[in-house]
Amino acid sequence: MAYTVQRIPNEPIIVLKVMNPFNPAKEVPEQNAEIAKLSQGVTPPVYLISDLSELKISFSDLVVSLAEVKRDEESAFNNKNLVTLTVGSNEMVRLSVEAAKQKQYGGVNIQIFGSVDEAIAHARSLAKK
């Protein structure tokens, strides 16, 4: 398992860190299930920080990942109670954020941050509003 997922105690913030080796067909549904479990009982919205800064994702893995998040009802693209913030700077991260904006992927607007700390700070500021 090349990912970790944990909730910041007493806050509606979940941090998912995805690393290599990455097996999207297997891991994306697992991640979604764990995120759904951690979100239980939390008053929405829940802020999901998706840390992809260390992930090197291939073209084919990106295609599989997108298909998985589209298919899975619990995924960040389909779960309206989740607000996703992404950390990372590579081209594949940018592409997945662009894809999420499209209607067929839920038209989700995902912000990109340079570090997890920045993303957490932003999530906290949103949670206070």
């Binding site: 291939s58 073209f59 295609v63 997108l66 298909a67 298919r71 592409l95 662009e98 894809a99 499209q102």
Partner: protein, 436 residues
């Protein structure tokens, strides 16, 4: 594994010896013939590299993978020599096939491309005439394109022009009276040898039950290439037919199947599967699958339907991000350049070769319609591939029942699987260099 390596080495030696004999018998005398004889011999200090660069090593590997283990050791020794005429013919084919590099676009024609198209069309017509019984030699039939052929660069008309140029320069160092330019222009003798070796092959098989299947497969190949070269719009089924016949899968497999089933180990029931068209149907679907693998690559064809939308989305986003070109094909080339999995399409764009997935949109300008059409093509051909795979399984099951054995279906499936593995690699890698 050791036995397989030994057999590959055995087939390679036999193929080189067969090619040497064919150069003497089928190729007109001249600097070209002298060069090829030298290049495949031990006199060439880069013999191994030359055989790899010409696709000979991969061709032999494929033959070995196809046939090794299908027959007993004793029968292998009988079978091995029969691989030589087919492999020799296909070595010439690689060169004539490469003449079509750059001819896929219906609009971006230059005088040089038009000249090459004329040569290729005339070559195909001559081949068909010869296969249909014209007694004139290849040399005579191709006479009118001889001057034109001298204007074609053998180096440029290859997927590895630098390597081709290198071998010619090495030869010139050893043979001071020959200039590399003379060798660069020596395509005509290969075309002649291609015709003669093909006709020998067809004649050798003509008295066997499956001889007509081989002959028809060969004639269909050259007809189909000329049909595609016309650049007239084709309905989808006609496009699939022409593309399927344009590669040599049907005659190649029919030949090996005939050698096994009729020549070295005559099989009970074999003639029935030829006569009732079961074999022809199976060969067509195998050829269709290999064509699509060759054009779209294994990953694309094996993508589950639910992932096609994701592929379309990612392609479109990449396309829009990378491309500032007004031309669809240039933008697509940039967008798929480093994907690793769309390498076959990328190769055909770079080299201007025919590719079913680009049919009808190659000359489009960049707009959403062209992207949608391309994505739809990928999805459509993936469906066609799945359909062909299912039909092939059914045909092979019926053949197994008829023959009470699975040697024939194993051979066809091995052939398809070999290409599935081959075309999952980028074409410029050692394991992905050869294409039939």
């Amino acid at each position: 594994l050791e036995e397989s390596v030994q057999r590959e080495e055995q087939l390679l030696l036999m193929t080189v010896a067969g090619l040497e004999a064919s150069l003497d018998n089928h190729m007109p005398k001249g600097v070209g013939r002298d060069f090829y004889r030298w290049a495949i011999s031990k006199e060439n200090p880069y013999q191994g590299e030359y055989l790899q660069a010409q696709g000979i090593t991969q061709l032999v590997k494929m033959t070995c993978k196809l046939l090794n283990g299908l027959v007993s050791d004793a029968l292998w020794e009988k079978l091995a020599p029969y691989t030589v005429p087919m492999n020799v013919y296909q070595i010439y084919e690689i060169v004539s096939d490469n003449l079509a590099i750059g001819l896929a676009s219906a609009t971006s024609f230059t005088a040089e491309r038009e000249q090459r198209r004329t040569i290729l069309q005339e070559f195909n017509r001559s081949m068909i005439a010869r296969l249909n019984g014209d007694r004139r030699s290849g040399d005579q039939l191709l006479k009118k394109i001889k001057p034109l052929a001298r204007g074609v660069s053998l180096f440029e008309q290859s997927l590895n022009s630098r390597k081709q140029s290198f071998f010619a320069h090495v030869y010139s160092e050893y043979h001071r009276d020959v200039k590399p330019e003379d060798l660069e222009a020596a395509i005509f003798p290969i075309l002649v040898a291609n015709i003669e070796s093909c006709v020998d092959l067809a004649n050798f098989m003509c008295d066997y039950e499956s001889g007509s299947l081989i002959l028809k497969g060969l004639i269909n190949r050259y007809r189909a290439v000329n049909r595609l070269l016309k650049h007239q719009p084709l309905p989808p089924q006609d496009l699939l037919d022409a593309s399927t016949y344009a590669i040599l899968v049907i005659p190649t497999l029919a030949y090996y199947i005939a050698i096994l089933g009729e020549v070295i180990q005559p099989q009970e029931g074999f003639k029935t599967v030829v006569r009732n068209n079961l074999l022809a149907k199976a060969l067509y679907d195998a050829a269709l699958m290999v064509r699509l693998l060759n054009d779209l690559g294994t990953w694309t064809l094996q993508l589950p339907p639910e992932q096609y939308m994701a592929l379309s989305t990612v392609l479109e986003l990449r396309y829009r991000h990378y491309s500032n070109s007004a031309n669809f094909i240039d933008g697509l080339q940039t967008a798929i350049e480093d994907t690793q999995v769309l390498t076959r399409i990328h190769k055909d764009i770079v080299h201007g070769e025919f590719n079913v997935s680009l049919y009808g949109i190659r000359d489009s300008s960049f707009d959403s319609d062209a992207i949608v059409a391309f994505n739809q093509n990928l999805g459509y051909f993936a469906q066609v591939y799945q359909g062909a795979s299912q039909r092939l399984q059914r045909s092979l099951g019926a053949i197994d029942e008829q023959l009470n054995h699975n040697w024939l279906s194993s051979l066809i499936l091995r052939f398809v699987q070999f290409h599935e593995v081959l075309y999952s690699n980028p074409y410029d890698m050692k394991d992905g260099e050869y294409s039939i």
